[in-house]
Amino acid sequence: MTSSEELIQVRNLKKYFQLTGGVFRKVMGYVRAVDDVTFDIYRGETLGLVGESGCGKTTCGRTIMHLIPKTAGEIIFEGKDVSEIKGGDLREFRKNMGIVFQDPMASLDPRITIKNAVGEPLLVNGIAKGFRLRNMVLELLQKVGLSEDHLNRFPHEFSGGQRQRICIARALALNPKFIVMDEPTSSTDVSVQAQTLNLMKDLQKEFNLTYLFISHNLSVVKHMSDRVAVMYLGKIVEMTPGDIFEDAMHPYSAALVSAVPVPDPSLRGRAHILAGEVPSPINPPSGCRFHPRCRFAKERCMEEIPELRDMGGGQLVACHFAGELDLGYKEELDASSTLAVEA
């Protein structure tokens, strides 16, 4: 499944947003949305990216797409450095990539029919016009399970799942190699979710696509991904080629895994509830960013930033004590480990 050829290599990617305030709106600080992130995406695989809301996963996806300018770092696409790409080259480069946004209603122009919305990539890149454009759009729509009847309708005439499929068709229009799925199912209900996810998997097989699948839902990520990267406060804390439910080695990943609801009542209450609030990315904690909420935190965690270490089998973990800790998320509830805050 996982071929060793890298499609995208992200090296030390940083994206800081300026925070302005005060009378003259001077720069008060930076939101470190993505802070020194390094990872590879292999051809034909799906890399899942999970984390809490606000941890920088969406920003990460958009920065790779060149939708927002990065602050620092390198993005290497098929062995070529595309970090500083601009103008016509950027347009040419974007033909290789597609993106599906979280909210399908908002990502479709309400005044443009589906034919023109899906056909826009083909039109602006000079691939097709007129009848040919229409036929190509129709083919795309048929691929995602829509028909000719849908061609000349406006977005508001569709259901949520259909809109999401239209967005997928648009992302596929330029025959890209790589698609960023930015929480594609978070705004649809569960029955539609499964359909959409399976459609994505089928399309991946058919077109040999590479996905970056961003979500906060661990079960969905597990279903979709070959490898999973866990993000916390702008940093990747763990990257595992296997099943994150089985192999989590970082305390944060373990806590995420344990928080997923399971239909087994005997396991109820085993979750390690994370204490406290996600710290502000404006002023992240020193050392390991997770240490204020980590129940295994030691002196060293507050001072030294942990690097991603290879724990064997391609599993990378950014924890000083990875492998030494008894994370215990698979066992029965340990009463002392649950940080239930009294009222």
Binding site: V23, L256, A259, A271, I273, E277
Partner: protein, 378 residues
């Protein structure tokens, strides 16, 4: 701030979560309160600073308009004046200097209180303003108080009785208010309540003026007739002044009344659709309490801005109303000045009105900022 959201990841279980949420919400509230005060101060300062370029721009526009209006030398010369003499006058008044220097002189003169001489009133402009401003303010205040006192209840009535006859009547009244030429409305009022009442032998309202000057003696102290009559303990003059205010005040206030009513209605309808109103109702509160305790406060916020903007309409309307009711205020003076090409007066009037308007909007914005925390984050 979005960053301090009280939500964490998939915390799906029981009381511990609730407690945690409470704790977090408490912390977040404390932080927000600090930010609120910080932001309010910053907002006030920023809003004041933003007013500076506006004031400079207003001065520049009035200067340019005055400059284009005509050569000020004309006032001092006659047909016989020799070209040399004209040149001498130009030099004496600095009119041969470059434009930016003249602008500087203009600012200096304004700052030192030398606003020019009003030919039409045969008085220095500042003196004219001092005598006429109180009359205009008195009229405008009467109009705006009338508009608010009637407009807000009408708006609430219209919103709460939506699509029933009180709503329809109110909407027609409001729509007529924004569509009616104010000067025509004033004339029609005068025609009915002065002329027709007078012809029918009914107690007619006065035709114009601030008081019956043929009968009553009045020496201005503050310039505000109603206040002066109270100070001098003169109930006859007070009543006379009040009666004289009714028609012009009503004519002037009707447009503002219409604007306030419409705004109040739409914002009230907007607020009544909100979830917290449904919640308040579902708690079993009486409708009166829901509307006056919960909805009104939030519905007032947009209405407050409209009142600030309506000030401009009042100033425009005052020009027309005062002309029709012979009200000895700024508006009447300005029309006379324009028809006599009295440039310093036109200029001073435009400038003064702009300052009043800018000031009113500044106050409204600050009130708005204090009322609605969202606005400060802009």
């Amino acid at each position: 701030m979005a960053l301090i959201s009280p939500r964490t990841i998939d915390l799906k279980t029981g009381h511990a979560q609730l407690a945690l949420q409470k704790h977090i919400a408490g912390c977040a509230r404390a932080i927000r309160r600090v930010i609120w005060h910080m932001r309010l101060r910053d907002y006030v300062i920023r809003r004041l600073l933003l007013a500076i370029p506006v004031v400079i721009g207003v001065l520049a526009i009035t200067f340019v308009l005055a400059y284009v209006m005509g050569d000020p030398v004309g006032i001092y010369t006659q047909e016989r004046t020799s070209p040399e003499a004209v040149e001498a006058i130009r030099r004496a008044h600095g009119l041969d200097r470059p434009l930016y220097e003249q602008f500087f002189f203009y600012l200096r003169d304004l700052a030192s209180g030398d606003w020019g001489y009003s030919v039409s009133a045969r008085l220095p402009v500042t003196q004219v303003i001092a005598t006429r401003l109180p009359a205009t303010i008195e009229l405008s205040l009467f109009a705006i108080v009338f508009a608010i006192a009637l407009g807000i209840p009408l708006g609430i009535l219209s919103a709460t009785k939506k699509d029933r006859w009180p709503d329809h009547v109110t909407r027609v009244v409001a729509l007529a208010g924004v569509s009616m030429p104010i000067f025509w409305f004033a004339l029609m009022l005068k025609y009915v309540f002065f002329f027709q009442f007078y012809m029918a032998g009914l107690p007619a309202l006065p035709e114009g003026g601030r008081y019956t000057f043929t009968v009553l003696p009045y020496t201005p102290i503050t310039g505000f007739l109603l206040i002066d009559s109270i100070i001098t303990l003169n109930p006859v003059l007070f009543m006379d002044g009040l009666v004289h205010l009714i028609l012009p005040g009503f004519a002037l206030g009707y447009l503002t009344l219409a604007i306030i009513t419409r705004m109040m209605r739409s914002s009230m309808l907007e607020v009544l659709k909100e979830d917290y109103i449904t919640l308040a109702r579902s708690k079993g509160l009486r409708e009166r309490v829901v509307i006056y305790r919960h909805a009104l406060r939030n519905a007032m916020i947009p209405t407050v801005t409209v009142i600030g903007l309506a000030f401009g309409g009042l100033m425009s309307g005052a020009v027309l109303t005062e002309t029709i009711f012979s009200w000895p205020g700024l508006g009447r003076w300005s029309t006379r000045a324009i028809l006599n090409s009295d440039i310093p007066s036109i200029n001073a009037f435009t400038l003064l009105v702009a300052f009043i308007f800018v000031g009113a909007n500044l106050v409204v914005d600050l009130v708005y900022g204090a009322l609605d925390p969202r606005i400060r984050y802009g």
